[in-house]
């Protein structure tokens, strides 16, 4: 057994310790306390509504939200708008439709079934308007961003269900604009961000204190804006998360009961084998 442990230690050392020299580089985003984290986590309706306001007033000018429809705003598990409110929001947008009888495309107010219209007609137009950098679509961005958790944290995450790397990163990015350190060569047209891989980001600092007016008394700070819009984006990426976790709990309880019953059934069936070998 001694030799076994020794050999195991050698293998583990080769596998994990030797490469430790390569660690480091970009700082990890700080952990944010999210209402939607954990097995019973729920979205904070007021936060989603505030986040949607930030998206509309700030992000929307460049970033599309093409997979979301206006109807989603009124669906259960979402920001909790009523259907009438969602309809009013939809009508504030102009959506292209057509062709009409004359064969021409035309614009009309949005309907519940419409997707959020894109700010640019195509990717190249978006690049041309943004100095060559393409503002990514935001529909699933909260799931499309992450950072390396590293050994052994990625193993603990299975048990703790920590999976908010994407939201944490987005909040950190919003807060991460600073002056470049001495000697950092910032390419023209880009901005220094502490958390962006490579640090040179095309997007200028998007948020500033007091930029968006909240009417529910929440603090009007960059940090609060960042958290609110990130929660909204998490919902946009995973609109059925609440239902998923709720069904999950029911399924787990069912399976536990079933497993318990099956265990005693198994014991009963095998009892005669153990009694009369």
């Amino acid at each position: 057994m001694k030799m076994q442990k020794l050999a195991l230690a050698i293998v583990l050392a080769v596998g994990f310790a030797l490469p430790a020299q390569a660690a480091g580089e970009t700082e990890h985003p700080p952990r944010v306390k999210w209402s939607f984290a954990g097995p019973f986590g729920l979205y904070d309706r007021a936060q989603l509504q505030r986040g949607f306001k930030v998206y509309r007033e700030v992000c929307q000018a460049c970033h599309s939200l093409s997979l979301l429809s206006f109807r989603n705003l009124a669906e259960p598990g979402g920001p909790g708008f009523t259907e009438a409110q969602a309809r009013v929001i939809a009508e504030e947008y102009r959506v292209q439709d057509g062709p009409n009888d004359a064969g021409e495309m035309f614009e009309r107010p949005g309907r519940l079934a419409d997707r959020f219209p894109k700010p640019f007609p195509n990717d190249n137009a978006a690049r041309a308007a943004n100095g060559g950098a393409l503002p990514p679509d935001m529909s699933v961005i909260a799931k499309a961003r992450t950072y390396e958790r590293g050994f052994p944290w990625f193993l603990f995450d299975i048990v703790t269900q920590f999976q908010e790397q994407g939201p944490d990163y987005i909040v950190a990015l919003m807060n991460g604009y600073e002056d470049p350190p001495q000697g950092f060569q910032l390419p023209p047209g880009s901005h220094y961000n502490k958390y962006f891989p490579g640090h040179a980001i095309g997007m200028p600092k998007p948020l500033s204190d007091g930029q968006v007016t909240y009417d529910d008394g929440a603090p009007q700070t960059v940090d609060q804006y960042a958290k609110d819009v990130t929660a909204f984006l998490m919902w946009a990426a995973e609109p059925h998360m609440e239902a998923r976790k709720r069904i999950g709990f029911q399924v787990m309880i069912f399976l536990l009961v079933f497993a318990g019953l099956m265990y005693f059934t198994k014991k009963k069936v095998w009892a005669d084998v153990h009694a009369h070998p």
């Binding site: 596998g15 490469p19 999976q163 787990m252 070998p277």
Partner: protein, 418 residues
């Protein structure tokens, strides 16, 4: 599937049927009366778990295919449509994507159990090789399935893996163009991968039938590695094995549910939520976790053709395991040295898996090279030599003897618990 059926139909219809198509008798002899070693532990339940997982993947896959569009312009959004709009679509999609991982977890346990208890040894060589074929088919199926969402990792995974074939001198480029159906990975590639991803699970199911058939010809191995001798050594498959399998299957479902309902994206890559973009390579291309040990072997070798050959060899070598292991004793319970090397081998594969997820630089490459050498040495040096030099412990005379004395010394030495 083997031996004579003791099935005696009572009902006149069943009698009529049995003379024409004896399917009830086949089921009876294969899955009810079939004698099962009485000492099988829970590691033996994974065969049944795998069968259920294959069925689960086929069923969820067929219904997902009703909503999926295999076209480069629509694939990504059709998956998001499944996630957002299709009734229970998000559940089915997460069941399918996490189901693939659960399938591989189960198959790795199943393979490791076979290695620990020597289940590949005479007369179970063909049974084992059929298993290796199933594993290869699973890898192909899993790879093509991962391409279908057409995210960044889908696309670049397809580019890297199909390019493996370009390593072959002379014909490599022609093979790759033929696989792609174009001059780059594109719509024809996605379409044929979808077609094959739909087909291969049914091929797997066919080979599984052969695998089970071969199993029923030679009988199950057991933790002692001693063949059943009398009726005392076995129990009927139903209800004994069935109820045990069912219990552990439900426990396995608890793990499956944990991933599906609480951390459904843990085993995937964030990059795959970015639509495929042929103009931008992700900074760090990583395959699905179940390929990582082999990916590490591929990257450990600085020469392209040799890397590809090592990758292929690391899987194919499994098929030769029955002949590389020269020991007469099956179970690691009675092989004190092999037992230690077995765990070192497991640690090596886990270590390679970790290194496969890391960028190929500095210490990671050196570590991967050391572990790659050990991986092959385990099969080509350790196993052949162990059979010659290892002093094994005395085997019990029969399964029932070992069961009765469980917890007490067998022969002269202490019993080995797996």
């Amino acid at each position: 599937m083997s031996g004579h059926s003791t099935y005696q139909p009572q009902h006149p219809f069943m009698k009529w049927m049995e003379r024409r198509l004896p399917i009830a008798g086949l089921v009876y002899s294969s899955f009810i009366a079939y004698p099962t070693p009485r000492n099988l532990n829970y590691w033996w339940t994974f065969g049944g778990i795998l069968t259920v997982m294959l069925a689960a993947q086929i069923i969820t896959g067929v219904v997902l295919a009703m909503h999926y569009t295999p076209h480069v312009d629509f694939a990504f959004n059709s998956i998001e449509g499944i996630m957002r709009d299709v009734n229970y679509g998000r559940l089915l999609r997460y069941l399918h994507s996490n189901g693939a991982s659960m399938f591989f977890i189960a198959v790795y346990v199943h393979i490791a159990r076979g290695m620990y208890y020597g289940s590949y040894k005479e007369p179970r060589e063909v049974l084992w090789i059929l298993g290796v074929i199933i594993y290869l088919l699973m890898m192909a199926t899993g790879f093509m399935g991962y391409v279908l969402p057409w995210g960044q990792m889908s696309y670049w995974g397809a580019v890297v893996i199909t390019n493996l074939f370009s390593a072959f001198p002379g014909v490599g480029e022609a093979i790759v163009t033929w696989l792609w159906g174009g001059f780059a990975v594109g719509n024809p590639t996605l379409n044929r991968f979808f077609s094959l991803h739909y087909l291969l699970p049914f091929v797997i199911a066919g080979v599984v039938v052969l695998h089970v058939w071969a199993l029923h010809v030679v009988g199950q191995n057991n933790p002692t590695g001693v063949e059943p001798k009398t009726d005392k050594d076995t129990v009927a498959f139903t209800p004994y094995a069935t109820v045990k399998d069912a219990f552990f299957l439900i426990c396995f479902f608890l793990l499956y549910g944990w991933f599906v309902f609480y951390i459904p994206n843990y085993l995937g890559h964030a990059d795959n939520y970015i639509p495929a973009n042929p103009a931008v390579t992700p900074a760090h291309i990583v395959p699905e976790w179940y390929y990582l040990p082999f990916y590490a072997i591929l990257r450990a070798i600085p020469d392209k053709l040799m890397g590809v050959l090592a990758l292929g060899g690391s899987i194919l070598i499994l098929a030769f395991l029955p002949w590389l292991d020269t020991s007469k004793v099956r179970s690691a319970r009675y092989r004190p040295l092999y037992r230690q090397f077995f765990w070192i081998f497991i640690a090596t594969v886990v270590g390679l898996g970790y290194l496969g997820s890391k960028p190929p630089e500095g210490g990671y490459v050196i570590a991967a090279r050391i572990l790659t050498i050990y991986y092959f040495a385990h099969f080509l040096i350790v196993l052949p030599l162990l059979g010659l030099f290892e002093k094994t412990k005395p085997l019990p005379n029969s399964i029932s003897e070992s069961v009765l004395k469980d917890g007490e010394p067998i022969g002269a030495s202490a019993p080995a618990k797996g």
